[in-house]
């Protein structure tokens, strides 16, 4: 293994990457689960937790961009051109959906008249006025975008495993904490 394969992402980028991954892995199934629950105090609590997770994902986006600008990712490891292109497209779409999924959820909350009070402490402004039709429409959007994000994460994960297990290159390890060599 050459030294290039072990040039890692910056510590901050690694932290934000895994934190976002963890939040998505909790928020996505939680969203699916709570949606079908009969109305109960537990359901109301879970909706709030889901919103807080989503807003945290949104909040992490800004430092993620700043880190990416300050410390650009290491150059991609050698691979066929189509794979590099596929990776770039997937990453760009992942960024887009990491932004749009929580944003559509926030919009939907506003339209449905249940504002977001982040961590029960910080009331977030309503992005649109209360409107039932718009609320239902945004719910469809939020669900479709979430499914899109789920598919992209699955692709991203499959590619990482393929690099690690089949190609046996350092792609996955560059996103794991450790010393740069």
């Amino acid at each position: 293994m050459n030294t290039q394969s072990l040039s890692r992402y910056s510590g901050a980028a690694i932290l934000i990457h895994w934190l976002t991954a963890l939040l998505i892995f909790v928020a996505f199934p939680l969203g699916k689960y709570m949606h079908d629950l009969p109305l109960s105090p537990q359901k109301l609590e879970l909706f709030s937790y889901h919103k807080w997770l989503g807003i945290t994902v949104l909040l992490l986006f800004l430092p993620r961009l700043l880190v990416r600008i300050a410390k650009p990712p290491p150059t991609a490891l050698p691979a066929p051109a189509w794979q590099h292109r596929a990776a770039s497209v997937t990453h760009a779409l992942l960024y887009l959906l990491i932004l749009l999924v929580p944003l559509s959820g926030w919009l939907m909350s506003s339209a449905k008249g249940v504002s977001v009070v982040y961590l029960s402490l910080v009331p977030l402004p309503d992005l649109v006025d209360k409107n039932k039709e718009l609320g239902s429409l945004l719910k469809e959007f939020h669900e479709a975008l979430s499914t899109g994000l789920f598919v992209l994460v699955a692709l991203h994960l499959a590619a990482a495993i393929k690099h690690h297990v089949i190609d046996k290159d350092g792609t996955l390890r560059r996103m794991l904490p450790g010393r740069n060599t």
Binding site: L39, S40, P41, Q42, L44, E45, F47, S48, K112, G113, V114, S115, V116, V117, S120, L121, P123, K130, K132
Partner: protein, 194 residues
């Protein structure tokens, strides 16, 4: 001279008492509203009741003689979602099949100065009656007047939200009932109803 100014003063009092003696008694339901506010997981929520019947007799110059009554059709609630509307009609909430309406009947009205007043009375919901006080403002406009006030209640005083819903950390115990009532003076001055 002295007696002339006295007569003038009497005249003024008479004119002003005539101007103020218009007692409001006809509620314009299409211009009135009853809404409510509460907190759910720390989030301020609101809703309204589409159907209610309000009766009142109110003369701002004689608040002590005033009285008011309001009957709210609980099945006409709008919580913002059909899921919520169905839930609150259930036994744990209003049990609106057995207790279809909420009723407020005033026992006394007093002036708090300027355009502010306070009405005290009994609020009955779900078979339970509790003394309640609501400060309100009164804004006259010709023969029409608008009453705006808020009644603060604790929902658990009326067993609204039983079982798991009795946990006030999700749906707060405090509920504000906001009323905006528009009323006419004499029936003669009332606009003909279509």
């Amino acid at each position: 001279m002295k007696s002339l100014s006295r007569w003038f003063l009497y005249g003024l009092i008479w004119v002003s008492s005539v101007a103020n003696s218009a007692e409001l008694s006809q509620v314009q339901h299409d211009k009135s509203s009853v809404s409510f506010g509460y907190k759910q997981m720390g989030v301020a929520m609101d809703g309204k009741f589409r159907k209610f019947v309000a009766k009142l007799n109110f003369d701002p110059s004689k608040p002590a003689a005033a009285n008011a009554q309001i009957d709210i059709d609980l099945a006409s609630i709008d919580t913002g979602t059909s899921e919520g509307d169905e839930e609150v009609a259930g036994k744990q909430w209003f049990n609106s099949k057995a207790f279809p309406s909420a009723k407020f009947v005033s026992t006394s009205v007093k002036s708090l100065g300027a355009d502010r007043f306070e009405v005290a009375g009994k609020l009955s919901i779900k078979g339970k009656s509790v003394d309640a006080i609501a400060p309100f403002t009164f804004k006259p406009q010709g023969n029409v007047g608008a009453f705006d006030g808020t009644l603060l209640i604790k929902r658990l005083d009326f067993a609204i939200g039983e079982g798991p819903w009795a946990d006030v950390s999700t749906v707060a115990n405090e509920v504000q009932i906001k009323f905006h009532i528009v009323a006419n003076a004499a029936p003669a001055a009332a606009a003909p109803k279509k």
